[in-house]
C-alpha cells in the first residue's frame, strides 16, 4: 500500500522536489551543492582524465540517490520505475490468471479431447525453461510492432513485457486450476447440481467458477511477486522495459554499469524489489490463511 502511494506520488516528487524530468537526459544539468553549481555528470580530471561519472547520492531533495549514466535523477526514476514495475506485474498477473483460468477451466471441465490437447500443450510449454521462453518472446516482440485486433502494439510499449510475463507463467497456474476444476467437478455439490438438472454452463458459472476463484485469488499476490522479479530479470537482460521508460529492472541494469562507482543505482531498486516482493508474499500468506482454512490450521 505504502509503495503504491509512494509511486503515485512520483510526478509530484519529480516536478516539485527534484525538479527534473526522469525521462530526459540531463547530461549537462547542474545542481547546487553547498551553494556551488556542480555538474551532474562529473568529468574525471585526475590521472589520464578518462571517463565521466554521474553524481553520487546527495541525500538532499535533488538527486537524493544520485544520477544515472544519463544524468537523470535516480530517486525520481525509482518512483516512476516502481509504477511501471507494479503496473507490469499487476497487469501481467491479471492476464496470466485470466488465461490460466480459461485454459484450466476449459481443460478441466470439458475433459476428453480438449483436455488432452490443452494438457499436452501446457506440458510442452512447461518443459521450456521460463526465462528462455520469456527472452525469446521478448526478442521477437521487441523487434516488431504488431497488430492485435484493432490495437497496434508498438515495440517499446509496456504491453510487450506485460504480455510476455503474463503468458509465460500460464502453464504454472493453469495446471493447478485444471486440477482444482476437475476436483470441484467431481465434488458432491456439483454432482448434486447435476442431479438437480442444472444446466452445464450454469454449473460452471455458479458452482465451479466461484470456487475456483479462491484458488485464483490466492495465486494473485504470489504471482505478482514472481512477476516483479521476472520483470526485473528481463529488464536486467535488456529484453524487458525499453528506454527511456524505467522500471526497477532497467534501473538495476543501468546501475550494473555503475556498480563499482555508484552502487546506489543498483542498491536502491534491488531493495525496492525485495521489500515489495516480501510484502506481496506476506500478503499472499495471509490471504491463503483467510481463504483456505485447511492451511490456516497448520500455522
Amino acid at each position: 500500500m505504502l509503495i503504491v502511494v509512494a509511486t503515485l506520488l512520483a510526478p509530484v516528487y519529480a516536478k516539485h522536489v527534484a525538479g527534473t524530468d526522469p525521462f530526459r537526459s540531463g547530461l549537462s544539468a547542474k545542481i547546487k551543492i553547498d551553494g556551488k553549481p556542480t555538474p551532474v555528470m562529473q568529468q574525471s580530471t585526475e590521472g589520464l582524465g578518462l571517463g565521466v561519472t554521474p553524481i553520487g547520492p546527495t541525500w538532499g531533495p535533488q538527486y537524493m540517490l544520485g544520477a544515472d549514466g544519463q544524468g537523470r535523477d535516480v530517486a525520481a526514476r525509482m518512483l516512476y520505475g516502481g509504477r511501471n514495475s507494479l503496473l507490469i506485474a499487476g497487469a501481467s498477473t491479471l492476464i496470466c490468471l485470466f488465461c490460466a483460468a480459461i485454459i484450466g477451466i476449459a481443460a478441466g471441465y470439458s475433459g476428453g479431447m480438449v483436455d488432452g490437447v490443452l494438457s499436452n500443450l501446457i506440458d510442452m510449454i512447461w518443459a521450456f525453461p521460463v526465462y528462455l521462453l520469456a527472452i525469446s518472446l521478448s526478442i521477437v516482440m521487441i523487434g516488431k510492432s504488431f497488430a492485435l485486433g484493432p490495437f497496434e502494439i508498438s515495440s517499446g510499449s509496456l504491453i510487450v513485457p506485460i504480455l510476455i510475463i503474463g503468458l509465460v507463467y500460464v502453464p504454472y497456474v493453469a495446471r493447478p486450476i485444471r486440477g482444482r476444476v476437475m476436483a470441484i467437478n467431481q465434488s458432491e455439490f456439483v454432482m448434486a447440481a447435476r442431479g438437480l438438472g442444472i444446466r452445464r454452463w450454469k454449473i460452471l458459472l455458479r458452482h465451479i467458477l466461484p470456487n475456483v476463484s479462491t484458488t485464483l485469488i490466492v495465486f494473485a499476490p504470489m504471482l505478482m511477486a514472481l512477476n516483479i522479479v521476472t520483470e526485473s530479470s528481463l529488464s536486467f537482460l535488456s529484453v524487458g522495459v525499453q528506454p527511456p521508460n524505467a522500471s526497477w529492472g532497467t534501473i538495476l541494469q543501468d546501475g550494473q554499469t555503475l556498480l563499482y562507482s555508484r552502487p546506489w543505482v543498483s542498491l536502491a531498486p534491488g531493495l525496492a524489489i525485495m521489500v515489495t516482493v516480501l510484502l506481496l508474499n506476506l500478503f499472499g500468506d495471509v490471504l491463503r490463511d483467510v481463504l483456505d482454512p485447511k492451511s490456516a490450521r497448520g500455522r
Partner: protein, 560 residues
C-alpha cells in the same frame, strides 16, 4: 575493416584520453635489435570467442588482428606503429605489382622459398586456388571486395565451379600472377591486404574450415582452438622473415587467448598481472579509477570511425530536408561525447569522413557558429527548421542497440527530438539484430544509432558504402545505406572519384572532401563523434604498437 558487430562491442561504452599522446609517447621507443625481448607467452582475454578460424571467412575485429600474424596476402598493411600502418606493402609478392591495361591488370611476382606452416612450399597455384576459394566458400566480401575481378560474376552466380577464368592467371615458369579487373580500382591493393585475401594451400577444403586451423605463411600459426576455452598461437617453424614491415618475426613465442569470464574479471586479472590484455573495452565505471591508479597501463589511440545517426530520407519525418537539418543543428555533440566517456575518449564530428581518414576536411555547417569545427548546438535555427518542415508533432522512434552507450545516445536523441516538438520514443534491440534490422526498409526505421569503422583507408569506404546508390537494396537485411539516400549527381561523382583515384590520388581525395561536404548538405545522417580506442595492458607488456588498421599489433609486443 573487420566491421562486424564485435568491433562495435569492443568500442561500446568507451573512453579516451586527452593525454593520449602522452601515454603513447612512453611506449614508443622501437627498441629493436634487443634479442633479450624474444620469448615468453602473451596472455590475452576475451569474453567470448568469435567463430571460425578460416581467415577467408571470419570477418571479426577480434580475429583479424590475429590472422595478419598467421597468414599473408600478396600485399599487407605495414606492421608499424602509427599512421604509417595505413600503407600497403608487398608481402608474398616480391614487389609492388606492375599495373597495365589502364590500371585494370595487376602483375605480381611471387616470392620464392616461402613455406606454409605445414612445410609445403608456396606456389602460384596456391594463389590461384586461394582466390577461387574466396568465391567457392562465399566469403563475406566476395561480392563487395573481389567482384571486380574478371570472372567474378560467374563465380558469384555459381560458386562451386568457380575458376576466375581470365581473372587470375598464373605462370609457374616466371612465378608471376596476373590479376585482371573489369575496371580500374584504386582500392584493390587494400583489398588484397585484408585477411579475406590470405593465401592458403591449394589443397585446403573448399568449405568453411571451422575450428580447424588452415596452414598459413605467417610468423605464427594456430596450435589449437576451442571456441569455449582458448585459442593458442605458436611460432611457425617454417617461418623465415622476408620483410620486416610486412611480416616481422614476433617477439613472444606463444600467444594464449582465453575466452569466457566477464570484462570486470578481465580488468582484475590484468591488474593482478594474470593476463596481459583484454579484447573487450574496459568497463566505463572502472576507467575513472584506473586512469588515476594505473595510468601507465592504459593506452589510448585514435580510430578511423564515427558514430552517427542515419535518418531514413524516404519516410516521414526525415523525408524532409529541413527536418534532417534541424536535428543536425540541435544535437549537442558535447553531451554525446560525455556519454561516451568525455572529451578524452571522443571528439565531436560534423563530417562523414572521420578526421584521420584521407580526404577529410574540417568543415562544419550545422553548428551555432559555422566554420571548421563544431562549437555548440543552434536550437533556435533547429526549431525554425522544424516549423518550416511542417513535421512537428510526428512520431519518431530512435532504434538503438542495447549496449549502454548506444542506449544512452538513443535516449539523448529522444530528448532532443522531443525538444524539437516530435513525439519521440526509443527502441533498443540486441546489437546483433539491430545492425541488420535498421538496414531493412521493411522495418520502416526512421532514425537509428550506429557506428562505422574503416575497412581500409579509403574515403569510398565511408561515403560510397554508406550513402551510395549501390548500397541501397530495399527489403534486404543487407542494405548498409541506412538513410536510403540515392542522389544521382553525388553518386556519379563518387564513381568518378573512385576511377580518378587510380590515376590521380591527390585530386581524388580533394573531390572526396567536396563530396563529403555536399552530402552533408543533404543531411542523410547526424554525425556525432569519432571514438578512440583504449587498451588496458599488463605492466610487463612492452613495445605496444597501434595501427589504425588492425589496432594493437600483438606480434611486435614483448613480455620480457
Amino acid at each position: 575493416m573487420c566491421e562486424t558487430r564485435s568491433l562495435m562491442t569492443r568500442l561500446r561504452g568507451h573512453i579516451l584520453c586527452g593525454a593520449a599522446a602522452l601515454a603513447l609517447g612512453t611506449a614508443f621507443q622501437p627498441a629493436f635489435a634487443d634479442d633479450g625481448h624474444y620469448g615468453g607467452t602473451l596472455k590475452l582475454l576475451g569474453v567470448s570467442s568469435e567463430g571460425t578460424l578460416d581467415p577467408q571467412i571470419n570477418y571479426t575485429a577480434r580475429y583479424w588482428p590475429l590472422f595478419i600474424w598467421t597468414h599473408d596476402g600478396l600485399m599487407a598493411f605495414k606492421k608499424v606503429n602509427g599512421p604509417e600502418s595505413a600503407e600497403v606493402v608487398p608481402d608474398l609478392a616480391e614487389d609492388m605489382p606492375v599495373l597495365s591495361n589502364d590500371g585494370k591488370t595487376y602483375t605480381f611476382k611471387l616470392r620464392q622459398g616461402i613455406k606454409f606452416s605445414n612445410g609445403k612450399d608456396l606456389t602460384v597455384d596456391d594463389v590461384v586456388a586461394s582466390f577461387q576459394r574466396i568465391f567457392k566458400i562465399s566469403s563475406p566480401t566476395s561480392g563487395s571486395f573481389y567482384n571486380g575481378i574478371v570472372g567474378a560474376d560467374k563465380c558469384l552466380a555459381e560458386a562451386a565451379t568457380c575458376t576466375l577464368e581470365g581473372g587470375i592467371v598464373a605462370d609457374a615458369a616466371t612465378n608471376t600472377i596476373t590479376i585482371n579487373l573489369v575496371a580500374p580500382d584504386a582500392e584493390f591493393l587494400y583489398k588484397l591486404a585484408v585477411p579475406h585475401a590470405s593465401i592458403v594451400p591449394a589443397d585446403t577444403v573448399m568449405k568453411d574450415a571451422g575450428n580447424e586451423p588452415i596452414p598459413g605463411t605467417g610468423s605464427y600459426m594456430f596450435e589449437s582452438y576451442d571456441p569455449n576455452a582458448s585459442l593458442i598461437m605458436v611460432r611457425n617453424p617454417h617461418f623465415q622473415e622476408w620483410s620486416k614491415e610486412a611480416q616481422p618475426k614476433g617477439y613472444v613465442d606463444r600467444i594464449e587467448y582465453t575466452f569466457g569470464g566477464t570484462e570486470e574479471a578481465a580488468v582484475n586479472a590484468i591488474l593482478n598481472g594474470q593476463a596481459d590484455w583484454m579484447y573487450e573495452p574496459v568497463p566505463t565505471d572502472r576507467l575513472a579509477e584506473l586512469s588515476v591508479s594505473n595510468p601507465d597501463q592504459l593506452r589510448v589511440s585514435p580510430l578511423v570511425a564515427w558514430w552517427y545517426a542515419p535518418m531514413n530520407v524516404n519516410i516521414a519525418p526525415f523525408n524532409s530536408l529541413e527536418a534532417r537539418q534541424a536535428l543536425n543543428y540541435a544535437v549537442d555533440r558535447d553531451a554525446l561525447v560525455s556519454i561516451f566517456g568525455g572529451p578524452a575518449l571522443a571528439t565531436p564530428v560534423c563530417t562523414i569522413l572521420p578526421p584521420d581518414m584521407p580526404g577529410h576536411v574540417d568543415r562544419c555547417d550545422y553548428t551555432a557558429d559555422p566554420g571548421e569545427l563544431w562549437s555548440a548546438p543552434d536550437m533556435d535555427k533547429a526549431l525554425a527548421l522544424v516549423e518550416a518542415s511542417g513535421t512537428k508533432g510526428q512520431k519518431v522512434t530512435v532504434v538503438t542497440d542495447d549496449s549502454v552507450t548506444s542506449r544512452g545516445v538513443g535516449t539523448y536523441l529522444q530528448t532532443v527530438l522531443s525538444d524539437l516538438g516530435y513525439d519521440a520514443t526509443v527502441q533498443s534491440i540486441s546489437g546483433d539484430i539491430q545492425f541488420t534490422y535498421i538496414q531493412n526498409t521493411n522495418n520502416n526505421v526512421q532514425i537509428s544509432v550506429t557506428q562505422w569503422y574503416q575497412d581500409y583507408p579509403a574515403p569510398s569506404n565511408f561515403l560510397n558504402v554508406l550513402f551510395g546508390c549501390d548500397s541501397f537494396t530495399p527489403g534486404s537485411d543487407s542494405s548498409v545505406n541506412m538513410s536510403g539516400i540515392c542522389d544521382k549527381g553525388l553518386d556519379d561523382r563518387m564513381k568518378a572519384a573512385m576511377v580518378l583515384g587510380s590515376t590521380d590520388p591527390e585530386a581524388a581525395l580533394k573531390e572526396w572532401g567536396d563530396i563529403d561536404y555536399d552530402m552533408m548538405k543533404l543531411a542523410p545522417a547526424v554525425p556525432m563523434f569519432t571514438p578512440k580506442d583504449v587498451d588496458l595492458i599488463s605492466t610487463r607488456v612492452g613495445n605496444y604498437e597501434f595501427t589504425s588498421q588492425f589496432h594493437w599489433l600483438v606480434g611486435t609486443a614483448w613480455v620480457q
